[in-house]
Every structure is written in structure tokens, then in C-alpha cells.
């Protein structure tokens, strides 16, 4: 074991996680490094080093997502803002209460949920949220069936989200039901809870761009309480190809040149059609997963398989069929 590893307890634990060290070796390494640690033992689980480290990890995970430049920039801004506000508070300067409720607009499969999940992690490490978990809900989870039921159901979901993020997908549907719809009651319960539990949780409303814009414009109460708007643009063909490469790499596959060309052609053709699924990472995933199954079918009867063959996705493996892909979406 390299010496630097034994000095940093976090690295020792990583070594154990990755299977380079056994528990016995890890304990030994920790014992040698714990001399300096026993002194500050009381505060150690909350030690800035390790949460700083986890924060960096979450941020680099965010950076590894393809595209989403606007989102990344905004998260950096928020991280800096939160840090400075915390320092200001320590120095007893006036610090503003953090209002971090957000609206995410964009088509399905553009990374809204993924980003929300990472933000939960990031905010937890920064001490903004206690737990940072993501509670993903939609209209049916919030709206009840009879009078008085809605407030109760909504409150229940909010309670689950305390300390983390309440992510409401297709949030505009809470307002589209007409005069007598219970969706409105759900919105007012939510707003009340946001006032009551100011620092305890973050609400993210997500949905298609046009519908969300209309929804927010028509609700002054909501507009003023959600200061942060993030737009998730559709991915370009190049970005989709990068996503495809990343997905394949994670699964230990790769495309040959012809397959690459075919996939690219199909993605760009689809982008032109202006459907909801164009520019959508989920579409790429479905095509790739289908290709992997078709490759398996092509290879299953062969007697001798090389490593190379098992990894390679060929042109004929990529089939693009509207219906088949959409059904899995």
C-alpha cells in the first residue's frame, strides 16, 4: 500500500471499497493514522475534509454529464453563493436566507431528475439540506379523491421530503384541471408548507417548457417563490453520440465505424422530426439496449467467441423502429 494512502483515512476506506485492502489491513492503516485523528475525534464524522471530499465527488459527477452547460454553470454559482453566505454568517455579516426552490423545464430525458438527484447530494454536503434525498412525486401522489383529502396527501409527501428535495414531475398538471379541480388545493398546501419549513427542504417543479411557462405565469404565488429557473435544452446529435459512447463504455461495448454512422444518422434524422423524444437521452439508451440484445442474438449460436466479438456492436445490430423504441420509453 502506498504511503500516502495510509495517511489519509478517506483513501483507506476507498481502498477497502474497491477491494484493494481487506478489512484487517484497513483497520491497521487506520490505527496508524488515527493518532492525529483521536484528537479531533468528537467532530470527525462532520469533519470538513470528508464532506468537502464528497462535495467534490458530487460536483465532478455533475461535470461528467454530457452537455447541460447552463445547469453546470448555475450549480457552480449556487455552490459559491451558499459558501459565501455561510462565511458571511460566520463573520456576523448580514446573510440572506437561502431560497433555493427551482423550476426545471425541458423535454423528457434531458437530465432533469439526474440533476435534481445530484443537487440533493451537493446541498447535503454543503450543509444546506440535512439529508439531501430526492422524493420524486407526480400529480397522482399529491391530489386526493375527495374534499380535504388533497391537503392531507400533499402534506404527507412533504413530510417525507423534509431534509431533502421534493421533485414534482409534470407540475403544471396541478393547475390545468379547471375551477373545481383539487390540484389548486395541493398548490396552496405546498406553498403553506414552504413558508412553514423554510430551510428544511427544496421544492423543484419540473415539466415541459411551454406548459411550465404558462403554469408559472398564471400563478403569481408560485412565480415569486421559485426564484431559480433552469432550462434543459434538447441534446444535439453530437451530445447524443457522446452519451451513447459513455453508455457503451460503461457496459464494456463499442461501436464499429459503420454502426456509429448508422446511429448518428438515425439520431439526427429523429432530431428533425421535432417530436417530444428528439434530443432525448432516454431514446439513446433504448436504442443501445436494443442493439445489445440484438448483438446477443447474433452471437448466441456461434461456437467460438473472441473478446473482441463480444464487445463489438455492428451495423446490423442497430435497428431503429419507432414503435419498439417508444414502447420502452
Amino acid at each position: 500500500m502506498p504511503a500516502f494512502e495510509s495517511r489519509n483515512p478517506d483513501l483507506v476506506l476507498v481502498g477497502l471499497e474497491e477491494g484493494r485492502l481487506s478489512a484487517v489491513e484497513a483497520i491497521q492503516a487506520l490505527s496508524t493514522s488515527c493518532d492525529s485523528h483521536t484528537k479531533k475525534r468528537q467532530t470527525d464524522t462532520e469533519s470538513p475534509d470528508s464532506s468537502e471530499w464528497r462535495l467534490r465527488e458530487a460536483l465532478s459527477e455533475l461535470d461528467s454529464l454530457i452537455g447541460l452547460t447552463a445547469v453546470k454553470a448555475l450549480v457552480r454559482e449556487l455552490v459559491a453563493y451558499v459558501k459565501i453566505q455561510q462565511i458571511r454568517e460566520m463573520r456576523q455579516l448580514a446573510s440572506e436566507a437561502l431560497v433555493l426552490h427551482m423550476v426545471f423545464s425541458g423535454n423528457p430525458g434531458t437530465g432533469k431528475t439526474t440533476c435534481a438527484r445530484l443537487m440533493g447530494k451537493i446541498f447535503r454536503e454543503m450543509g444546506v439540506l440535512e439529508k439531501g434525498h430526492l422524493v420524486e412525486r407526480e400529480r397522482a401522489d399529491l391530489v386526493g379523491e375527495y374534499i380535504g383529502h388533497t391537503a392531507q396527501k400533499t402534506r404527507e409527501q412533504i413530510k417525507k421530503a423534509l431534509g431533502g428535495i421534493l421533485f414534482i414531475d409534470e407540475a403544471y398538471s396541478l393547475a390545468t384541471g379547471g375551477e373545481k379541480d383539487f390540484g389548486k388545493e395541493s398548490i396552496s398546501t405546498l406553498i403553506k408548507a414552504m413558508e412553514d419549513n423554510k430551510d428544511k427542504f427544496i421544492v423543484i417543479l419540473a415539466g415541459y417548457r411551454e406548459e411550465m411557462t404558462k403554469f408559472i405565469q398564471s400563478n403569481p404565488g408560485i412565480r415569486s417563490r421559485f426564484p431559480i429557473h433552469i432550462e434543459f435544452p434538447d441534446y444535439t446529435t453530437e451530445e447524443l453520440m457522446l452519451i451513447a459512447d459513455l453508455m457503451l463504455k460503461k457496459r464494456d461495448y463499442r461501436l464499429d465505424v459503420a454502426a456509429r454512422a448508422k446511429l448518428e444518422a438515425q439520431l439526427s434524422r429523429n432530431l428533425g422530426t421535432d417530436s417530444d423524444h428528439s434530443g432525448n437521452a432516454r431514446l439513446v439508451r433504448n436504442i443501445i439496449e436494443r442493439a445489445i440484445r440484438r448483438q446477443a442474438l447474433r452471437l448466441v449460436d456461434k461456437k467460438q467467441l473472441t473478446r473482441e466479438e463480444l464487445m463489438l456492436i455492428r451495423r446490423e445490430d442497430i435497428e431503429y423502429n419507432h414503435e419498439a423504441v417508444y414502447r420502452f420509453g
Binding site: P9, V12, L13, V14, L16, E17, E18, G19, R20, L21, S22, A23, V24, A26, I27, Q28, L30, S31, C34, H37, T38, R41, D44, T45, E46, S50, R54, K121, R124, K131, G132, H133
Partner: protein, 204 residues
Amino acid sequence: MKRCIVLGKPNVGKTLLVLGLADYMKVKDVDITFQDPGGARYSRKYPVDVAMRELVGALPHQTKCLQSFSLEFRVGKGKKAVELIDTCGLTQQIHDDPLTRKAMAQTLSAIRGAEIIIHVIDAHFLGSVDVLSDPTEVDLDMQLAAFAGPRGGYCIVANKMDLPGANRGLARIRRLFTGYKVLPVSAATREGFKEVKRHVLRNL
């Protein structure tokens, strides 16, 4: 709130000890928080007997994340809550499953924040193997004691005292771990829980 962590090898009875203590203290429901290595948390309220049925098992590595709940102890006229943390068992060899390895790393990192450390050793098992001439079986326990022992609030619980051969195991534990506090316990029959409770109380 002070934290009390329970550690040891897999299948020595850590979870049963923790839940047994809740039962011994006449608690009906426990609100268990599961904290997995990724940092996600989730909590669920169980009646103690249901928790025992669902979380305790005969196979090693039933617990694969930190499972904690708080327990109130009467101190003088008031009450003090202690967070009992049940952990994933530590193995001698490098484990094949990455999730289990992560959970073990979690166990070790949780030691750092705990004020009370209960190290569980299977006395029944040690009674059946000859550890005095071949100490590889207790290598991990020895390391653990050397690591956690000086931290204060540490004690060894010799569990499974109701099973045959456990007395011999207890004698061997006392011989190997001289200088540490050793409490003979049977988590299954709740024997010796009085001493465990007293150990926790003394360190509050």
C-alpha cells in the same frame, strides 16, 4: 445525542443484540434509519418483533448498511437518548461483492464518530475452533480491539452464550483480550443485557 456503534464479524449477532436491547428496555416500536453507502437514507418504523424477523437472519451479511435508531435511557430523573448504530459485518478476506465492501468501509468510518463502541464476538464459534494455537480466526477481532479499544466507551460482548461450548469460547476471549471489558451475553435469551445497558449508561 451520543452514538453507540455495534461492530464485529458477520453473523455474530449484532442486529439481534441491538434489537434485543430495545426489546429488553420494553420498547415496542423502533424507527430504523437505513443509511446506505451512497449516502441515501430511508427510515421505517417497525414493531420490535417484526424488525427482528425481517432484519435478523441465519446467513452472514444480513445487514448491508448502517441501521440506526434511538433509544431512551433513564438517567436520574431525566432521559437521555442514545443512537444505536448497527453495522455491516467485517470480514477477514477482501469481500467479492462491491456493495458489501462499501458497507464495511462505512462501518469503519462510523467508528470515528461513536462515543460508545460495542464489539461483538461469537463465543460459541470460538469455543469450537482452537484459536489459541491458530489465531487467524481472531486476527480481525484483535485488530479491531487494538483500533477501537483506546477510543473509550469500548467493550467486548461475548455473544451466543446460550449455545454449547460458549463457556470455553468466553474463557478464550478473556485470555486473548486481556485488559478489555468482556461481557458474556446471549442476545437470543436476553441474558447479560443488564450489563450491556449498564455499560451504555456509564458512558452517557
